[in-house]
């Protein structure tokens, strides 16, 4: 079944995947360790998960992070989809170079620069730092990722469907909503999920733009990790990994199923 793949190729892929997964696997296994010491195995236990349930500060951070992520991902998906539509459908327009520059630059911009820049803007605007400033900062970062995801989908898209709608007298914006949007829905959903995951994950930008009362989960984890490794952190990390893994698998299964049904939207 691995015909055509030399031993070297198999080893290269296996080594790479082992390198990617071994540390995560160790972290997950040790979250079920009964011992207080992270490095001594004291038998299987759910002790740290129980302690997590009683950690009010950690739970409130989870809640804040989920709200920030859901809100910023939703706004970012709307803005990112509009940007992707503009970049793929409008041809040349005035200010296009600046626009695409502003879309692609945040993808590689070191986070310390973006974070500092946004913080200084909020200071200049005299805005109180907290929930809203983090949400705005995350929207700015993640909308660019959404744009890339939706844009690649719009490029491989059969435009004759749109053109048919125009020929039948449908206004372009209506054609986009009624014809295009349902067909690119899997990419839009993937963009939202990516934006959500990125927001849930961000430490650096949140450090700059957050304030008292808006300690997101990564900020909380970071401040605890700086004091040393704690088994409880392993437990919360395991839960996060499980949630993300399930969401990713569910999304790809959904995409696959719609591809099997012959839905053109899921075919690349």
């Amino acid at each position: 079944m691995l015909r055509g793949m030399s031993t070297f190729n198999v080893v290269a892929v296996a080594f790479g995947l082992a390198f990617l997964y071994l540390p995560i696997l160790i972290l997950v296994v040790y979250s079920f360790n009964h011992s207080q010491l992270v490095t001594v195995w004291g038998g299987w236990s759910l002790r740290w998960y129980r302690e997590l349930l009683h950690d009010e500060a950690m739970l409130s951070s989870v809640w804040i992070s989920l709200r920030v992520a859901a809100l910023s991902a939703t706004v970012a998906t709307v803005l990112g989809t509009l940007a992707a539509a503009a970049l793929t459908r409008f041809g040349r327009f005035r200010g296009r170079l600046l626009f695409s520059g502003m879309i692609y630059a945040p993808l590689v911009m070191p986070e310390v620069i973006t974070g500092l820049a946004l913080l200084l803007l909020f200071v200049a605007l005299d805005a109180d730092r907290g929930f809203w400033t983090v949400t705005i900062a995350h929207t700015t970062l993640t909308m660019c990722f959404v744009t890339i995801v939706v844009q690649s989908r719009l490029i491989g898209f059969d435009r004759s469907l749109e053109e048919a709608a125009w020929d039948l007298g449908c206004a372009p914006w209506k054609a986009f909503l009624v014809v295009t949007l349902p067909l690119i829905a899997p990419a839009v959903a993937a963009g939202w999920l990516l934006a959500f995951a990125l927001s849930l994950d961000d430490l650096v930008i949140a450090s700059f733009t957050s304030g008292p009362g808006a300690t997101t989960l990564p900020l909380r984890i970071y401040s605890q990790v700086r004091l040393g490794v704690k088994p409880e952190i392993n437990a919360i990390c395991t839960i996060l990994i499980a949630v993300v893994a399930l969401a990713t698998v569910a999304l790809s299964l959904a995409a696959k199923r719609s591809a099997l049904r012959g839905d053109p939207a899921a075919q690349g």
Binding site: L2, R3, G4, M5, S6, F8, N9, A12, F15, G16, F19, I24, I26, V38, T39, L79, L82, A83, A86, R89, F90, G91, R92, F93, G95, F99, S100, M102, Y104, A105, V108, M109, P110, E111, V112, I113, L116, A117, L120, L121, T139, T140, M143, T147, S152, I155, P172, W173, D201, L203, F208, P218, I221, V225, R226, V229, I233, C237, V244, T248
Partner: protein
């Protein structure tokens, strides 16, 4: 929607929201960073002078402009702490990008040569760690690398070492963390390129009697170059400004520039110096960033 350059009102409306958002929350902040880098530190709230007093009209503007100066930049280039940190960041980014390429290329190549129906699964396996928290993945390495951690106990058990090695708080730990965290960024663009590679070209080379290694160098590598460029830029640029990895895994003796910026801002409350550090960092990275943008534009916008 026409592509003749004439903008209808509906096109303008679609464009306006994301455009304005990015101008206000991405472009304008950089102007403020630059302005602040020309200011001086002050014991005040906010902790810098001069402040632009719009109420004072033209005189206020003149006062404001007179207050600006390049003192922070003079400091930046005269203190070896900063130059050393910039230099170290570039070295770390260069070396790790080279290691990433060495590990990532064979991996992407192997994935592209895998049976077709296995490939989506392999891609998902590479993407999945990228979706899980960056912080968690760096944290996972602390478990492994600390003095009484798993790497040392494994090596001691296997009798490869006699005394525990201090892996954590070293440059080695930074390299491990960086290569680990950025591997998906290198593998995915490489795979995307190698996967599209026309196999008939390889077969043609083989038919003409070219040995496999020569085909690899003369056909595969040149055709993969756009993917290499994307992977290299996608890793190199953020690594230069990396903060979390050196902070959690690296030692305290020498810092990367992202850490120096962090300390100037959060610990020393010296906002103008932090802004100057960011401005110089951006100037150092502007060429790679422009190259990346051009590559991205070509990949996504050519018809």
């Amino acid at each position: 929607m026409s592509s003749r350059g004439a903008q209808s009102w509906s096109q303008r409306a679609v464009l306006a929201a994301p455009y304005l958002w990015l101008v206000v929350f991405f472009l304008v902040p950089f102007a403020i960073v630059f302005k602040l880098s020309l200011s001086q530190t002050a014991v005040a709230q906010p902790p810098y002078v001069p402040l632009l007093d719009l109420g004072a009209g033209f005189a206020g503007l003149v006062d404001f402009l007179r207050g600006l100066g390049v003192e922070t930049y003079v400091l930046l280039f005269s203190d070896t702490l900063y130059l050393h940190a910039y230099f170290k960041s570039l070295i770390v980014a260069l070396v790790s990008t080279a290691i990433l390429l060495l590990i990532g290329f064979p991996m992407a190549y192997g994935m592209a040569r895998a049976p077709r129906r296995l490939q989506p699964l392999l891609v998902m396996l590479v993407v999945l760690p990228f979706w899980t928290s960056f912080l968690i993945r760096v944290y996972a390495w602390i478990n492994i690398l600390q003095r009484d951690g798993l790497l040392n106990s494994a090596l001691l058990q296997l009798r490869i070492i006699d005394t525990p090695v201090a892996w954590l708080a070293s440059d080695t730990a930074i390299f491990i963390g960086v290569v680990y965290s950025y591997l998906p960024f290198m593998v995915l663009p490489l795979y995307a390129r190698l996967e599209q590679l026309d196999r008939s070209l390889l077969e043609a080379a083989a038919d003409l009697g070219t040995p496999p290694w020569k085909t690899f160098w003369l056909v595969t590598v040149p055709l993969a170059l756009p993917g290499v460029a994307a992977g290299v830029l996608l890793s190199f640029i953020p690594i230069v400004g990396e903060f979390v990895i050196p902070d959690l895994l690296g030692g305290s003796d020498s810092q990367m520039i992202g850490q120096v910026l962090w300390v100037e801002f959060f610990a020393n409350k010296d906002w103008p110096v932090a802004a100057a550090i960011a401005t110089v960092l951006l100037a150092v990275l502007v060429i790679p960033i422009l190259l990346y943008e051009r590559a991205q534009r070509r990949a996504l916008e050519q018809r």
